[in-house]
């Protein structure tokens, strides 16, 4: 029995030193397993890739390349300066501008970042709920369009008291998105239609529906032929939080509230338990009495509602007028945000802020250093690409593969415990023969 114990207990020989060493090994392994580390490293890699692209396209750097072998120092110095300038401009445009003339102007970037983040966070949360429930809602774009459209129409077509008008516009926007998501949800629940295909099709329908509406005079109510609507009434606008020169509006409070709500929904509510259960294992959920079709439909209704709310907040807080390009690429960026945030509420919030910041900073970067804002798109894309391929990131940074056994603490605990059990058991007869 003693031999058996030795073989099963990983911490037996070698004593404390070895144990400490294996603990450290473990910590590293656990850390690399943690998706946050991967996420962070992906951002780092993306910045490096971005830097290389900046160098490749920068005319100054190109000219130093011409005499690289004569004076390599020039090349390296110029490269360093170009990257430093570009990224510091990106940072100053997104967080804090220490070169600004007034203190107000220097904190303005961070508020711009938050303004950009509001619709990304709200829609990202809507997409994240789908991911957690095993559904790929690609229809954020359409749901945002519907949300913005409903909110806008309520905002300029009606005259309502302060408070009530805004509330109704927001609710209307959420409902618009919920209906658009609900179409896909109900179709999936009733007929098993693939939600990816249905939501993609609904994106196109929403786009052309909006284009058609913008040509209808009863809808735009502007009296002109321009495909753009009247501005929403002041009473329906999301009020500014800092006044004066800042665009930051109450939408950010809405985004924070939505983040808390989604956390509560997924982690604490019975409905969220159903959502997560059908996401992880629909068969077991069905066996446990969950009404899977109903939950499926609700996931897309609530997710669509959040996307719609994102569209509404974007319109009522920033744009005020409905145009054909109201959603921009928000719906697709929201998918990226949800991915980057690992479909967790807080993660999605932070990812939304990061993307909002990249967008805000990209503008200053382009204006001050001539670096094309498209670099921001590259950064975003590389981040997502790497997050989707954790082994690649691990390979770049020489991190150990968490799939190598032993896999997790739980497994190890189990084996320790089995060894302990074995030690307790009576010794078996080693030979039985008659």
């Amino acid at each position: 029995m003693s031999t058996e114990k030795k073989n099963n207990d990983p911490a037996e020989p070698g004593g404390a030193l070895k144990e400490a060493e294996s603990r450290l090994h473990y910590a590293v392994r656990e850390l690399s397993q943690s998706s946050w580390v991967i996420t962070l490293l992906s951002v780092v890699v993306a910045l490096v890739v971005g830097a290389l692209l900046i160098l490749a396209t920068n005319p100054q750097v190109q000219s130093t390349m011409g005499y690289f072998f004569a004076q390599p120092g020039d090349f390296f110095l110029t490269s360093f300066e170009v990257i430093r300038d570009a990224y510091s401009a990106l940072f100053r445009g997104a967080v804090y501008d220490w070169q600004a003339a007034t203190p107000e102007r220097s904190i303005r970037p961070i508020t711009e970042t938050l303004v950009n983040a509001v619709p990304l966070i709200l829609a990202g949360l809507g997409i994240a709920i789908g991911f957690r429930s095993g559904m790929l809602n690609i229809g954020g774009q359409g749901q945002i369009i519907l949300g913005a459209t409903c909110a806008a129409f309520i905002g300029y077509a009606y005259q309502l008291p302060l408070g009530a008008h805004l509330l109704l516009a927001l609710v209307g926007g959420a409902l618009g998105g919920a209906i658009w998501g609900g179409i896909a949800g109900v179709l999936k629940a009733k007929t098993g239609a693939n939600e990816v295909i249905v939501t993609i099709m609904l994106n196109n329908i929403a786009l052309y529906l909006l284009a058609w509406l913008l040509r209808q005079q009863w809808f735009v109510q502007t009296g002109s032929n321009q495909p753009i609507s009247a501005p929403v009434e002041d009473s329906a606008r999301l009020f500014g939080l800092l006044g004066g020169g800042f665009r930051l509006h109450a939408g950010i409070l809405l985004a924070i509230a939505a983040t808390v709500f989604v956390w509560w929904l997924l982690e604490r509510s019975t409905l969220g338990f159903e959502f997560r259960a059908i996401g992880e294992n629909p068969e077991a959920a069905r066996t446990a009495g969950v009404n899977v079709p109903k939950a499926t439909a609700l996931v897309l209704i609530i997710g669509g509602g959040l996307c719609g709310l994102g569209g509404a907040a974007h319109l009522l807080g920033t744009e005020y007028r409905l145009g054909a390009g109201i959603a921009g690429t928000l719906g697709f960026d929201a998918i990226t945000v949800a991915l980057l945030g690992r479909s967790k509420p807080l993660g999605t919030f932070l990812a939304g802020v990061l993307f909002g910041g990249l967008r805000a900073g990209g503008v200053l970067m382009q204006a001050q250093t001539g670096t094309p804002i498209d670099i921001v798109l590259v950064l975003q894309s590389v981040i997502v690409l790497l997050i989707a391929a954790p082994p690649l990131v691990r390979a770049i940074f020489f991190l150990p593969n968490p799939d190598g056994k032993p896999r997790s603490t739980g497994r190890r605990r189990l084996r320790n415990q089995q060894a302990a059990e074995a030690a307790e058991q009576p010794t078996p007869t080693q030979e039985v023969s008659k």
Binding site: E4, N7, E280, T287, A288, G289, P406, S433
Partner: protein
């Protein structure tokens, strides 16, 4: 051919699946490898078959050292393997299946069907296999499919044949035929390695028994060892193979199914007018070969599958039109057949799995919000009562062994007030210790006066638990017989023979395993 392993060690990371295994299989020997699930039997066989390469040790065939880079090399060297789950393509004919991968060709690479067909016929004639070379695999019964696998191995000149749990899918009578084939192969000099965890078979068939536990060989035994000796060697401690239970004290009928009919999506009648009455305080076991409607019966009772006709009555209420949730709330406790897909959500914590079908019920929630602290407390209490070996209840349930996962499922179903207990294959894939525990728990539930319906394809389990046995064949209940009915009778009924006839036939013809039974309790 003589197969010899010397110090074969296979590790996965730091986990040693096979630890210095020494094993010798003489030519013409039937060598049984006995061990529990997860003991390392399959790893060892896959190593021999070239699917894994060992870290240490060597494999010798007829005293010559061999190394395999894949199953192809092993087949070349004369090793054949019949997997537990057959590697056959349903829409292929027998001939096509046998030649797949080793097609005889004529000039210009054209497949020589005639030659392939001739080879199949030749082998099946030599061993009296009775397999039609042109039959489609999907039309063959399981026993015949297994024979096709054996022909496949033999057609590649296998002189060492590895059979991985070959009897798991067979009726006792089909098992008999397999044993006859194995003996014939042995006569012709083929060595057979036979993997199993069933003690009864080992004693009936093997010439030599090697017992493996936690990756190591713990002993060798001869077939005349008693089952209890073999079991304690396999498990590493004294075990009770039969669970102590008092005679049932059946009350009035608590649960009843009348004329239940279920039609599959393809339009086939999978459950045909099934009627069962289960008294309070009684265990009714449903026996039968896998795939004869037992799964559908359990699913129809819980409401996962719609019944086209009949009634399902619990305490006088007809459940047939209710949702799954309403049926669970009416008091059905359900342990599903396939734990990992239907019973638990692997990524969820033990606590979440513990409340999986009561998440919106008192006291775990108020209907809208869940109460994590109440859930956790109950999970801690009940998992310790059911002796679940775990780290903390916040770990994902996938970190537990199969036996412990099943205990969590049982704890979940039995810790609430149930009026009827339904379990499908409650011990599938579990180790002997956990099987004992599960059986004891089910009998305790019976003694509390709960009607119990247990679906099982393992005859050992059925005989161990049942107060009455209903045998199913092709969606029909062939008959309901007392719990201590002879295994041979059950075996015949499992093949569709009506009750009286089964009794008559069993009297005249004892199966090998049935015969082995007599000496088993010595």
């Amino acid at each position: 051919m003589k197969l010899q392993l010397k110090g074969v060690t296979k590790r996965f990371g730091t986990f040693t699946a096979n630890d210095r295994i020494d094993l010798t299989v003489q030519p013409g020997e039937i060598h049984a490898l006995l061990g529990e699930n997860g003991a390392g039997k399959s790893t060892l066989m896959n190593t021999i078959y070239g699917l894994y390469s060992p870290e240490e040790g060597e494999i010798l065939l007829d005293d010559k050292r061999v190394t395999f880079n894949g199953p192809g090399d092993a087949v070349e060297a004369g090793i054949g393997m019949v997997h537990q789950h057959f590697m056959l393509i349903p829409v292929f004919s027998v001939t096509e299946s046998v030649m797949l991968g080793y097609e005889p060709t004529k000039t210009a690479g054209i497949i020589d069907f005639a030659e392939a067909r001739r080879r199949v016929q030749e082998i099946s004639a030599r061993f009296g296999f009775d397999v039609d070379p042109d039959a489609m695999i999907e039309d063959l019964p399981v026993g015949a499919q297994q024979r096709v696998e054996i022909i496949k191995a033999l057609s590649r000149d296998a002189r060492v044949l590895i059979l991985d749990e070959p009897t798991a899918v067979l009726t006792p009578q089909e098992t008999d035929e397999l044993i006859a084939i194995m003996r014939q192969l042995k006569e012709s000099g083929t060595s057979i390695v036979f993997i199993t965890h069933k003690l009864r078979e080992v004693r009936a068939i093997a010439d030599k028994i090697t017992v493996i536990r936690r990756g190591k060989i713990v002993g060798e035994a001869l077939p005349d060892s008693t089952e209890t000796e073999l079991a304690s060697l396999m498990v590493g401690r004294e075990v009770n193979l039969t669970t102590q239970k008092d005679p049932a004290e059946p009350g009035d009928v608590g649960f009843s199914v009348q004329d239940l009919t279920v039609v599959s999506r393809a339009g086939k009648v999978v459950l045909d007018n099934v009627s069962l009455d289960i008294a309070r305080g009684e265990i009714l076991c449903v026996a039968g070969v896998d795939g004869n409607g037992q799964t559908e019966l359990a699913e129809a009772i819980l409401g996962l599958r719609e019944a086209v006709d009949g009634t399902i009555t619990l305490d006088g209420t007809n459940l047939r039109r209710m949702s799954v949730k309403d049926r669970l709330n009416a008091g059905i406790g359900f342990v599903p057949e396939d734990r990992s897909t239907d019973g638990v959500i692997p990524a969820f914590s033990i606590t979440e799995n513990f409340v999986l079908d009561q998440y919106d019920q008192q006291p775990y929630s108020n209907g809208v919000a869940m109460k994590p602290s109440v859930m956790r407390e109950a999970a801690v209490e009940q998992t310790s009562r059911f002796d679940v070996r775990l780290g903390t209840v916040d770990d994902p349930i996938s970190t537990l062994s199969g036996g412990n996962q099943q205990k969590v499922v049982l704890a979940r179903e039995m810790s609430r007030d149930i009026r009827f207990f339904l379990a499908s294959q409650p011990t599938r894939g579990l180790d002997v210790g956990s099987i004992e525990f599960v059986h004891r728990t089910i009998i305790e539930e019976r003694d509390k006066g709960t009607p119990c319906l247990i679906v099982s394809t393992e005859l050992d389990e059925v005989s161990n638990l049942a107060d009455r046995i209903a045998v199913m064949y092709r969606g029909v209940v062939v008959g309901i017989v007392p719990g201590d009915t002879d295994r041979d009778v059950l075996g015949l009924m499992m093949a569709g023979v009506p009750v009286e006839e089964a009794y008559a036939q069993a009297k005249d013809h004892h199966t090998i395993l049935g015969g082995a039974d007599e000496g088993a309790q010595a």
